[in-house]
Amino acid sequence: MAAAMQLNTLMSNMFATGLLDDQFQQLQMLQDPSAPDFVAEVVTLFCEDGERIIGELAKLLDKPAVDFDKVDAFVHQLKGSSASVGAQRVKNTCIQFREFCQGKSRDGCLKTLDAVRNDFYDLRSKFQTMLQLEQQVQASFYPKQ
């Protein structure tokens, strides 16, 4: 039960701080017996995808001549993923990132990349905690025989 409470607090905290928005609730609503691990699946996908993109972005921005179109494409992808998951803050930072991209401001991009990274890792750690807690909760509901 403690896990459930913890989970609740975590979730409401994530909503309250604007880390997540309604879209995540939509996701939760999509989870049903036919797809019991839907949220976990999507979240894992998002985390992997996000990590990859952030890695790519760091690589791209590290080059002396930055290909802003490519950067923009990656950021767009990350924005799309975060919008789907409801990772509001990452999404907002991505929007900002794209502005810098369009402005071809490398410093701005680097700055926002840091912000995106922070937001993303923050979210990822919270997601991981969430998934663990969910497992615990499920385990307590369906104790192993």
Binding site: A16, F38, E41, V42, D49, A73, G80, S84, Q96
Partner: protein, 999 residues
């Protein structure tokens, strides 16, 4: 905290570039200023140089003029002297000439000679004033060598040469025989012995004219001088004698020394200005070697000013000239210095003025720029404030909604009374907070200029009904009447922003209810044109605070809704009647239909909310619309509230193209009036869009009749208005007995014609007497005169009365009355079947109906998106297939395929959604053509063309994207992440648009 930091970052990102650009602009401006300032010393220098040049030019000009004048003067002075010298000289020469003639006559014609040395000396001495220039004169006789001895003997002396020697033998001799005393040293001298004299003598006798020697130092005075020699001829010489004749006739020579120096000295001393002028006289017979006759021998090098005048002393062989120059340079006139100086000073002054003006201009522009900067800063700060407010309000609202939702859920659980009470209180507070935040948000939005109005058709009447239904609990506590009246002229449907409209009305009514303890709150809507007519027709318009006479009925009550006095008597019956006068009974027709035919598209509505509350104190009236301002602090203590509502109402009214104003009299009441411009909506546009906003009134009561017993005309008009909306014809009577009478009169045969209802106002009802009247009605029925008794309905203000009269009447209606409450009440009474309108189909289930079993292809390169879309569509029962690129999608969608729809991401690497769709459409076209060929050959089997519905999935739903979607052959778009409502719309449009593709 999280929201705060995010907010900061957003600001940074959004404004960064703008700010940078602005800074750059300012930098440029400053640089330009600096450049201008840097160029200034140069300009000043140039200016000074110009001033100096100008002064110098003036100076030189003046100088030149002076020089010219001096030269002119010199010329005239020189010429004058020359002429005088010449004249004097001439006079002397003439006299010598005369003397020669004298000698020729008295010496040669007389024999013996009439002249001897003494006579000559005496005569010449006495006539020397005639020859002021000659210091002496002597006569030498021409002697040939053969005459020499005779001559010497005759005179008794021997000729001597100039050197006091005995004269040697020579061709001719010219011994001086007569001499003036002053030159007595010349006596006996042979003039021919001197080289100069000899030459002179020879020249004189050939020319017959006076001749001059070169200047030389005279023997006596040591002054410079010349010797004048004049030939004396024998008297018989003809005037036109030849040279030989003349030589022949020469008898002797008259000579004298001109003391030129004295001569010129004397002459000059007689003339003015001789101090200034330096005169030199030269003999220039030999031009290369001028010989000085007068003046300093060394000619000064002052070439500056020199004038040369020719002198003619009558000797054709010799030439003389006079050279004049100034003794000293002509002094510069003061003006030559002062004028340029003055000019310079003037230049400098002008320069200073320009410089001062310039610097002043600079200062002003700099100040102006600073002001601009400050202004932009202030504006930016203002916008930032508004944005901050908007954002913060929004950020607060989100968690607050969570809190409220949780409280709602909490209330749904099993709670003890205390817990429930706590939770309810918390919820109430939360709701208040949300309302306040919404208000602040609105206000901030308005200030930031981001408040936009919608334009949707809505029914004003039902909207107002909804508004008054919000206040029952408060009304019941206070027992005040709340009523709505909408003029018949007001269109049934108008286009505007119903929520904002409702917000204003709710706010104003809320205020009115809050500040009113007794009496009424009356909302009246009319067209602005009508209101104008009203005020024109009735001249005495009230002004704020002024005590105007309000017409009252005999019993002391005012002719208003509740009988209490109102601040603005425009709602009193006298005025109100005018609104109704045009169409006393609007009959069964739907109200407003008439005005729909009016040509104007826009109508201005006047909405007035009248209350009989405490009113607004005079001193507070001018700041009623200032945000967060209440009449005074006690107001908020007594009544609560923040005072932001009115200011928002004002903003909204202005946004709607109207105004808001009020009339208020303390302790009598206030009337707030606002106008709003709305569009008329034609009936057909209303068909489905407004359905969600207002439930249509039942039409089952059309054509029924009712009698209304009400003593107050305004109130009866309101009641009639509501009944009319239901299609019920109303007859108004003043009291109960008249009501019963009216009922009796109308005892027509057909029940439909008869009034089937009797509405009785609470305060008209006198239980003691009116019961009897009712009894009479019952009696009528007993007698069979009336088949059916009318339904008796009592209109009451408070819930308490409902209990009291429940037994007597068929129904008791509690105010505020609304068309819908009347309708439901009547429906119960008359057991009229009202067809229940079907609820809007449950959308999720509807969507499920649309999508269930359908094969749907989702194309997105983003796995996360793909997964979510998959799950979302699956929820509605669709069979979802996912691919990650446009190419895969194309290969899957090669006709024939089994997909019913495709959701396509727009932005994908390699091949984006637009391109993929284009290719899909192309493939379909090809397939269709092939199929057509087959069908023409196979005959008959006309299967549908391939057209796969393709919906774009896009995050930024802007018009441009939409246009692009349509252009590339897509059928619509849905926003990412899926929004149920939108998905429903898009899918249903597809289903409606294309006939069911799969049977």
């Amino acid at each position: 905290m999280g929201s705060g930091s995010k907010l900061g970052k957003k600001e940074d990102g959004g404004r960064g570039m703008e700010k940078e650009a602005k800074q750059q602009q300012q930098l440029q401006l400053r640089q330009r200023h600096a450049a201008r300032r840097g160029r200034r010393p140069l300009a000043a220098l140039a200016f000074v140089a110009m001033a100096v040049a100008c002064s110098a030019a003036v100076h030189w000009q003046l100088r030149r003029e002076t020089m010219e004048r001096a030269e002119l003067r010199l010329v005239s002075m020189c010429e004058e002297r020359a002429r005088m010298l010449q004249e004097q000289f001439g006079v002397t020469v003439n006299h010598v000439h005369a003397l020669s003639i004298l000698i020729s006559i008295f010496h040669f014609e007389k024999n013996p000679s009439a002249i001897d040395q003494d006579t000559f000396a005496k005569y010449t001495a006495m006539t020397s004033f005639e020859r002021p220039l000659l210091n002496g004169i002597a006569y030498a006789e021409r002697i040939f060598p053969h005459e020499k001895e005779m001559f010497e003997r005759k005179h008794g002396w021997i000729m001597k040469t100039m050197n006091r020697e005995a004269a040697p033998l020579q061709e001719e001799y010219a011994p001086v025989i007569f001499s003036q005393d002053t030159v007595s040293y010349l006596a006996r001298m042979d003039m021919m012995s001197g080289e100069e004299d000899r030459e002179n003598i020879l020249r004189a006798r050939t020319t017959g004219k006076p001749v001059l020697t070169n200047p030389f130092r005279l023997l006596g005075s040591n002054h410079l001088g010349v010797v004048l020699t004049f030939a004396v001829y024998r008297p018989n010489l003809p005037a036109d004698a030849s040279v030989e004749q003349r030589v022949e006739a020469t008898a002797g020579y008259l000579g004298g020394a001109f003391d030129v120096e004295t001569l010129v000295e004397n002459l000059l001393s007689k003339l003015a200005g001789n101090q200034d002028i330096l005169v030199n006289v030269y003999d220039v017979t030999n031009a290369s070697e001028p010989m000085a006759m007068y003046g300093s021998q060394t000619p000064d090098d002052k070439v500056g000013l020199l004038h040369v005048s020719m002198l003619d002393f009558g000797d054709p062989f010799r030439r003389h000239e006079m050279r004049c120059s100034y003794t000293q340079k002509p002094p510069l006139p003061w003006s030559a210095i002062s004028n340029p100086l003055g000019t310079f000073v003037i230049w400098m002054l002008v320069g200073y003025i320009i410089c001062a003006a310039w610097s002043r201009y600079d200062k002003v522009t700099e100040d102006c720029r600073k002001m601009e900067e400050l202004k932009t800063q202030a504006e930016a700060a203002d916008i930032a404030k508004s944005q901050f407010l908007a954002t913060v309000s929004h950020e607060i609202r989100t968690p607050m909604n969570g809190v409220l939702g949780m409280l709602d859920m909490l209330l749904g659980t099993d709670l003890t009374m205390t817990q429930k009470d706590f939770a309810q209180t918390a919820q109430g507070c939360g709701k208040n907070l949300i309302r306040l935040i919404n208000d602040v948000l609105d206000r901030a939005k308005f200030e930031a200029g981001r408040l936009e109005l919608e334009a949707v058709p809505f029914d004003l009447r039902s909207l107002l009904d909804d508004v008054i239904s919000l206040f029952p609990s408060k009304l019941k506590e206070k027992s005040i009447e709340l009523a709505v009246f909408v003029c018949d002229d007001v269109p049934k449907l108008v286009i505007g922003d119903p929520w904002r409209f409702q917000q204003i009305v709710t706010n104003l009514v809320g205020n009115a209810v809050k500040f009113t303890e007794r009496g009424h709150v009356f909302v009246r809507v009319s067209l602005a044109e009508q209101s104008n007519v009203e005020t024109c027709r009735v001249p005495n318009v009230t002004l704020n605070g002024k005590d105007c006479k309000v017409e009252s009925t005999a019993n002391g009550a005012f002719n208003t809704l509740s009988g209490f006095q109102a601040a603005d008597e425009r709602n009193s019956w006298e005025y109100f009647k005018l609104l109704l006068s045009d169409k006393e009974l609007p009959s069964n027709e739907l109200e407003g239909e008439k005005c729909n035919q009016m040509d104007a598209d826009q109508v201005t509505l006047m909405i007035s909310i009248e209350d009989t509350g405490v009113g607004i104190p005079l001193h507070a009236q001018d700041r009623v619309f200032t945000p967060f301002m209440q009449a005074d602090s006690s107001t908020s203590r007594n009544y609560g509230g923040t005072g932001i509502g009115l200011s928002i109402s004002k903003c909204l009214a202005e946004l709607m193209g109207g105004q808001i104003s009020f009339t208020s009299r303390p302790s009598i009441g206030s009337t707030f009036t606002f106008s709003a411009v709305v569009k008329r909506a034609s009936e057909d546009t209303s068909s489905d869009s407004e359905r969600s906003l207002c439930e249509a009134l039942p039409t089952a009561f059309r054509g029924m009749k009712a009698i209304l017993v009400d003593g107050k005309p305004v109130r009866s008009a309101v009641t009639r208005y509501h009944l009319n909306r239901l299609g019920i014809t109303v007859q108004v009577v003043n009291n109960m007995s008249m009501g019963v009478q009216a009922f009796g009169q109308n005892g027509a045969t057909e029940s439909r014609e008869k009034p089937s209802m009797l509405f009785i106002q609470n305060d008209i009802w006198r239980p003691e007497t009116d019961i009897q009247l009712l009894n009479r009605l019952h009696a009528l029925r007993m007698n069979g005169q009336v088949h059916e008794l009318p339904k008796l309905i009592l209109l009451v203000t408070s819930e308490a009365d409902k209990e009291k009269y429940g037994s007597t009447f068929n129904a008791v209606l509690c105010k505020p009355i609304r068309a819908s409450t009347i309708a439901s009440c009547l429906q119960q009474l008359l057991q009229v079947e009202i067809p229940v309108r079907k609820e809007n189909q449950n959308r999720p289930s509807f969507l499920r109906n649309l999508l269930v079993g359908k094969n749907i292809l989702v194309v997105d390169d983003n796995k996360v998106n793909l997964r979510v879309a998959h799950a979302a569509l699956k929820k509605y029962g669709a069979k979802v297939h996912c691919v990650e690129s446009g190419k895969d999608a194309i290969s899957l969608l090669q006709p024939p395929h089994f997909f019913d729809a495709c959701f396509m991401d727009v932005q994908m690497p390699e091949m984006d959604g637009f391109e993929a769709t284009r290719q899909i459409r192309e493939m379909e076209k090809k397939a269709n053509e092939e199929k057509r060929e087959q069908s023409t050959s196979a005959e008959g089997s006309t299967s549908a063309d391939w057209h796969l519905p393709v919906l774009a999935m896009t995050a930024d739903v802007i018009q441009a994207t939409y246009d692009k979607c349509i252009k590339s052959g897509m059928d619509g778009y849905v926003s990412k992440p899926f929004d149920e409502q939108q998905l429903y719309q898009a899918v249903s449009r597809l289903v409606v648009g294309t006939t069911d593709p799969a049977p």
